[in-house]
């Protein structure tokens, strides 16, 4: 690697740097645009300036003064966290079994979970709507948590079984020889080593639940379970003729913050190469 680094001519380096900057700019400009919009006053909203001429916190004050947004934020956090925890716990167990055990129907199980992940969600919305209304789950937390778990599990199982496969099986044998029960071996040896995988999966699942719009808009009808992405679409100004762009932007910025925090918090735990040193050298 070092050889490649030193051998690359300065021109190539500059070219790559330019491409990198372009990609980053392309990804960040819309985000900065939203941030900019959220700080603009109603009068300057459409002036087309990237940097607001007059700054205001009014949009943020407004959204936090409505129960609608706060309630949606609570729903989003609650539903996404519960779904993430359940999906990761179930996914960990399933992935461990898939990585370690030979059992009849293993291939079928993996195939079916892949099938679920590929199934177009939009085709399931109407049946789910009917079923949830019949079961009394419509517009409740479980009504969103259940489909989220369903669609997050294949993702969790796939990511985690890849991590489990990386952990040398001999470590488990060694733990058994050292006097551990299977449960102890899993908890004290395998689980800590799989932690980076678990955290990665947790982040992915959380982002999936947090960002979902389709289920959130279709399976909720009131503030009881409406999550932020759905609630945003119901934002209106104080009158029918008022443009809610400023408040929508402010809300969009607010719901991005937890994701960033979540990733930053767990990023520290994702230490690459944690298993190095376990077996030979």
């Amino acid at each position: 690697m070092a050889a490649i680094g030193t051998a690359a001519p300065a021109g190539a380096k500059a070219r790559w740097a330019l491409i990198d900057i372009l990609v980053v700019v392309y990804a960040l400009v819309p985000v900065l645009w939203i941030v900019s919009l959220s700080f603009k006053t109603k009068e300057t909203l459409t002036d087309g300036n990237f940097v607001p001429r007059s700054w205001t916190w009014q949009n943020y004050v407004d959204i936090f003064n409505t129960t609608e947004f706060i309630r949606a934020l609570v729903n989003s956090i609650g539903i996404a966290l519960i779904a993430t925890v359940i999906a990761v716990v179930l996914g960990t167990m399933a992935a461990y079994a898939i990585a370690r055990l030979e059992f009849p129907g293993k291939r079928a199980l993996v195939g079916v979970s892949l099938l679920i992940a590929m199934f177009p969600q939009v085709s399931l919305v109407s049946p789910l709507f009917e079923m949830e209304r019949g079961l009394g789950l419509f517009d409740t937390w479980p009504g969103l948590i259940l489909p989220y778990i369903t669609f997050a599990l294949p993702l969790a199982i796939y990511t985690l079984s890849a991590f489990f496969r990386e952990i040398p099986w001999e470590l488990e044998k060694a733990a058994k020889m050292d006097g551990a029960t299977p449960a102890q071996a899993f908890r004290r040896v395998i689980a800590p080593l799989a932690a980076p995988g678990v955290f990665t999966t947790a982040i992915l699942v959380f982002i999936f639940c947090w960002n979902d719009f389709l289920f959130a808009i279709s399976l909720t009808s009131t503030e009881a379970s409406r999550t932020v992405p759905a609630a945003l679409s119901f934002f209106t100004g104080s009158s029918q003729f008022e443009d809610p762009t400023g408040t929508v932007s402010a809300a969009a910025v607010v719901i991005t913050v937890p994701i960033i925090l979540f990733v930053l918090f767990f990023q520290r735990r994702i230490v690459a190469g944690l298993t190095s040193g376990a077996v030979k050298g």
Binding site: P168, E170, L171, K173, A174, A175, K176, M177, D178, G179, A180, T181, Q184, R188, V189, P192, L193, G273, L274, T275, S276, G277, A278, V279, K280, G281
Partner: protein, 389 residues
């Protein structure tokens, strides 16, 4: 401390493959026993069955007189050192070594005391707070040993613990493993495919092939009295030379020439109901430069192909014209040594000559061999016709 008895232990996999067949071994308390054989001979499976990591299909395993077939590994009180060391990468050296004690709910003070003591014995004291990733291969190997000894188990099982080390370190660690075992006096079962390790470490060696025990005995006994062609070829380095031979009129006709059998060998061969066509085996050290020997009864002349001078000895390689000895055992040994396709015309023999020999590469040499050290094998089943154990 324990006595381990394998009584007709058999391992058959669900697909019908027989990995280990009717193995009978009695391991005495404090003994250092080696299981050796080429890969796929069932030695590791046997070890895993003693450990409890593999089920025993048939037969009985007893530790201290108690049947343990059905016991989980943790209830057998046996420690194991793995080929890959299997250190827990998220724990420091201290935590790794303390792990078995923590699981056994030993109090903190005792844990620290035992870990410190083990670290002192293994010279790991200054590394106790490091993670396995930051240790060298030799240090990791010692941590794996440490994790095994802190617990004072009934027995140690070692699965090729030195095979991941480089050659020099391996020799060093071999000595320290041996010292450690003598010092602790714990029953040890050690698996290796390296016959040098087997010869140097063990009180007794079990040679296995295809799931069957070929011979059990002290290293010296296996070397001098191999029960069959396989053991003869596997034990010893460089390995024994094999040549086809014919028994006729109380003499032996071989590619090295015809010579009379000594009285000792004649008696043994007569008792063994030997066939006419046999395979003759002769170890490299039973050859000598004829110029250095008095009373040269059995000599032959051949051209030195290659001469390797080791300082203390000279290894001379010759090609002997004629047929090569063939048998299933020899083919398997050749395959294991990776020399199966090296057969050119004639048989190659290796001789160990004294350093004083004037042998030169590419020149003919008169070579003497000790006719009383000849071993004869039945090509059909490989049994040693001159076995007197």
């Amino acid at each position: 401390m324990a006595e381990i008895v394998l009584d007709k232990v058999t391992k058959r996999y669900p697909d019908g493959a027989l990995a280990v067949s009717d193995v009978d071994i009695e391991i005495a308390d404090g003994e250092f026993l080696i299981l050796v054989g080429p890969s796929g001979c069932g030695k590791s499976t046997t070890l895993n069955m003693i450990a409890g990591l593999e089920d025993i299909t048939d037969g009985e395993l007893r530790i201290d007189g108690q049947r343990v077939n059905e016991r989980a590994p943790k209830d057998r009180d046996i420690a194991m050192v793995f080929q890959s060391y299997a250190l827990y990468p998220h724990m420091s050296v201290r935590e790794n070594m303390a792990f078995p004690l923590r699981l056994a709910k030993v109090d903190n003070q005792t844990v620290n005391q035992k870990v410190d003591e083990a670290a002192r014995i293994l010279d790991l004291t200054q590394h106790l707070d490091r993670k396995p990733a930051n240790l060298s291969g030799g240090q990791r190997q010692r941590v794996a040993m440490g994790r095994a000894i802190v617990r004072d188990p009934k027995a140690f099982l070692m699965d090729e613990p030195l095979s991941n080390l480089d050659a020099k370190l391996r020799v060093q660690m071999r000595t320290s493993v041996s010292k450690l075992q003598k010092r602790l006096g714990t029953t040890t079962v050690y698996v290796t495919h390296d016959q040098t390790e087997a010869m140097t470490l063990g009180d007794r060696v079990v040679v296995m092939r295809g799931g069957h025990v070929q011979q059990i005995g002290s290293p010296q006994f296996l070397y001098e009295q191999p029960a069959n062609l396989f053991v003869a070829g596997f034990i010893g380095s460089p390995s024994m030379n094999f040549l086809p031979a014919t028994l006729e009129n109380g003499g032996l006709s071989t590619p090295l020439g015809a010579f009379p059998l000594t009285d000792r060998i004649r008696l043994l061969v007569e008792g063994a109901n030997a066939p006419r066509e046999v395979i003759m085996g002769l170890r490299p050290e039973h050859f000598e430069d004829a110029a250095l020997v008095d009373g040269q009864s059995t000599t032959f002349e051949a051209t030195v192909d290659v001469l390797e001078s080791m300082g203390s000895d000279k290894f001379a390689y010759f090609t002997v014209e004629g047929e090569t000895a063939t048998s299933a055992e020899l083919e398997e040994l050749a395959a294991d040594a990776g020399s199966a396709d090296l057969t050119d015309s004639g048989a190659q023999i290796v001789t160990r000559l004294s350093a004083a020999s004037a042998a030169k590469q590419g020149t003919p040499l008169d070579v003497w061999f000790d006719a009383d050290k000849v071993q004869l094998f039945d090509p059909a089943d490989g049994r040693n016709l001159t076995y007197s154990g």
